[in-house]
């Protein structure tokens, strides 16, 4: 009897070991899982697009010899002092509180050396980042932590944050372990509490109010500063149109791959749309209003390489923003800290408990011993290198497509590898002229 073949153990595709582990964790703890980062699920993404390049029907530019420009203007619609960046890759908003002071300094250093901007977050403006950032975007968030007219005026642009891709419709979260004395003072909160900031702005509701709010911010800053409106990837066509109607100079659309310092895993994984689905809708809204390139579009969420930059721009964005990738460039999740990740019950490249403030790399922490490990000068150099590489990669692709400026990339330079990506991006399946959803098919 014992020699009979046995049916091998078979795992459920529905109740996978990971699903079961989460059920057990929930049953034992009574609370949902909180973590940092963006979605970890597989999604249609830029990897599902390819550039066609040039051959006989298109004429390429010579690599290293013929110029392929990369600069971008932001805020040309109404602002008296629009921003001019050397590269179309910006640093997304990340709060002091979520990140350490030295990490914010490194972002400023790296962005400045690479000729781009960095952005504050839900904790107000720190001297570290203002002092080290040539171009700093100041976020105007529902919580208004640290908000004041002096910082508004010393910012180079203002970003009204309506939502973010990791949690469209959700507010901020910073748990007690990271509310240090300095963070508590900046946010005017008791030390050590779990801070859950609002998901709606306290003094405006809807696009008609937003228009007046933007006008107030322009008045306070004497119409100098470009005003961005940032939305999570929820309904990008309508949100972009309403942001334009409200008077935005720049619209920022953040897909669900965009990271957060902390929120519920269920929120990160189940709310929002991938950035690939968002860009064409946002671009169409701008085109329908006759505002494409007049109101600039920044997109973010899962941008990792120059190829991603080139694809986002080819779909019609003016610039991209990176957050998670910038943290990895600084040293987040580096395998050199593997022993310490193991002690935290995780491993390098999977560590996402940023809310706990025990980051071995010293980036997502307020613990002086941990952030003392992080060298902001070295971190800044690493970020600068990474931004330069992304730019070179995007230029390489653009030249191969015969473009003398990254902004000359266009959807016609792309094809898709999957039906899903083709439908979302609005480009044909490779080797065909079929764009799913177009012309009744």
């Amino acid at each position: 009897m014992t020699d009979l073949p046995r049916t091998p153990p078979r795992f459920s595709a529905t109740f996978t070991p990971a699903v079961n582990a989460e059920i057990r964790r929930a049953a034992a703890s009574g609370i949902y899982d909180i973590r940092g980062g963006g979605t970890k699920r597989h999604l249609p993404h830029f990897d599902d697009l390819l550039f066609l390049g040039a051959s006989i029907s298109r004429y390429p530019l010579e690599g290293y010899r013929e110029k392929c420009a990369t600069d971008v203007w932001l805020g040309t619609r109404f602002a008296r002092k629009p921003i001019h960046l050397d590269i179309p890759v910006t640093i997304a908003g990340m709060s002091f509180g979520a990140l350490s002071g030295p990490a914010k300094e490194a972002l400023g250093r790296g962005a400045t050396m690479a000729g781009t901007s960095t952005t504050t977050g839900d904790g107000g403006m720190t001297e570290e980042e203002r002092g080290h950032s040539r171009t700093l975007v100041y976020q105007y968030l529902p919580s208004r932590y640290g908000m004041n007219p002096d910082d508004l005026r010393r910012a180079d642009a203002i970003e009204v944050v309506v939502g973010q891709g990791a949690k469209p419709g959700g507010g901020g979260m910073l748990l007690g372990q990271k509310i240090s004395d300095r963070v508590a003072e900046m946010r005017n909160l008791p030390k050590g509490i779990d801070q859950r900031s609002a998901c709606r702005h306290p003094d405006w509701t809807g696009p008609d109010d937003l228009e007046i709010k933007i006008m107030e911010l322009r008045e306070i800053t004497d119409w100098e500063k470009p005003i961005y409106v940032k939305v999570g990837g929820a309904r990008p066509y309508y949100d972009t149109a309403l942001a334009v109607k409200s008077g935005a100079d720049v619209v920022v659309v953040d897909g669900m791959q965009g990271g957060t310092a902390a929120t519920q895993d269920v929120f990160i994984e189940h709310v929002g749309m991938p950035i690939l689905a968002c860009i064409p809708q946002a671009v169409k809204a701008l085109q329908d209003l006759g505002m494409h390139r007049k109101v600039q579009l920044i997109v973010s969420g899962g941008i990792r390489s120059g190829a991603d930059v080139a694809k986002a721009l080819a779909l019609g964005a003016d610039a991209v923003a990176i957050g998670t990738a910038a943290l990895i460039a600084l040293g987040d999740n580096d395998p050199k800290w593997e022993q310490e990740y193991r002690k935290l019950g995780t491993t390098a490249d999977a560590y996402d408990d940023w809310h706990e403030g025990r980051d071995p790399a010293g980036i997502t922490t307020q613990d002086p011993e941990l952030y003392g490990r992080f060298d902001p000068i070295l971190g800044g150099r690493r970020l600068k290198n990474y931004l330069k590489v992304m730019t070179l990669e995007a230029q390489t692709i653009a030249r191969a497509c015969g473009k003398s400026h990254l902004h000359n990339l266009e959807p016609e330079d792309l094809c898709a590898l999957t039906i899903e990506a083709a439908a979302m991006a609005g480009v044909p399946i490779a080797g065909t002229s079929w764009i799913p959803g177009r012309n009744g098919f």
Partner: protein, 229 residues
């Protein structure tokens, strides 16, 4: 006295003139006529000057005010004195929603009633309302004082932090984590000072008020409190 005709010269010219006042100036007295409910009147002022608006204002009058004393001889639209840093703003009439939202300092006085969400997310400002306040007032209020001589609507002080709320009249209901607290000697003293500065000392006495504050049960998330949210 500088008299500025908003109807004739426009908002941008007004705010540009007010923003040009840096530090000490002898142009300390301003009068704005024909406001006609315009938005963002005297927003972003940063000088110790007196500004009187002769009429009612739209959204965000005196937004982010620093140092100035701004008096509205009429009613104010939504978000009056939002994120005020310092100085004094006095509304002779009523105020719409979000009065004093996220204010970080200074004093806001509303001689009439204030609508919903008065003092929302306040961060250090003092607000004295001679009349009543609407629902969800002092929502997520972080610090500062809200004094209401009349009644308060539903869900007063929902999810508040360390702000102190003083209400003389009836409170329709308290929001999550907001409880009545004992009035101690320091509270009577603080309230007396607030009533005096709020031009309300002839209308009410400190002993007529009740104090409300945070039970601090929601400061650290506990699943057993989930039904409170």
């Amino acid at each position: 006295m500088q008299t500025f005709d908003l109807g004739a010269e426009g908002l941008r010219a007004l705010n540009a003139a007010l923003h040009a006042l840096k530090g000490q100036t002898n142009m300390t007295s301003w009068e704005v006529v024909n406001p006609r409910g315009a938005h963002a009147i005297a927003a972003g002022v940063d000088a110790p000057v007196d500004i009187t608006v002769r009429g009612s204002t739209g959204y965000y009058c005196a937004g982010m005010n620093k140092l100035a004393t701004i008096r509205v001889k009429g009613s104010a639209g939504p978000g009056v004195a939002e994120n005020m840093m310092s100085g004094t703003v006095v509304i002779e009439g009523d105020a719409s929603q979000y009065a004093g939202a996220t204010g970080r300092g200074g004093l806001l006085v509303i001689k009439g009633n204030a609508s919903s969400r008065c003092a929302i997310s306040m961060k250090g400002i003092d607000i004295v309302v001679h009349g009543s306040v609407g629902h969800m007032s002092a929502f997520m209020a972080q610090s500062g004082n809200l004094v209401v001589l009349g009644d308060a609507g539903e869900a007063l002080g929902d999810s508040l932090y360390e702000a102190r709320l003083f209400v003389r009249g009836r409170v329709t209901s308290l929001g999550a984590d907001c409880i009545e607290k004992e009035m101690r000697a320091e509270h009577f003293a603080a309230l007396e000072d607030l009533l005096r500065r709020g031009e309300a000392d002839a209308k009410a006495r400190p002993e007529e008020f009740r104090r409300y504050g945070s039970a601090r049960k929601l400061y650290t998330f506990n699943i057993d409190n989930a039904s409170s949210y």
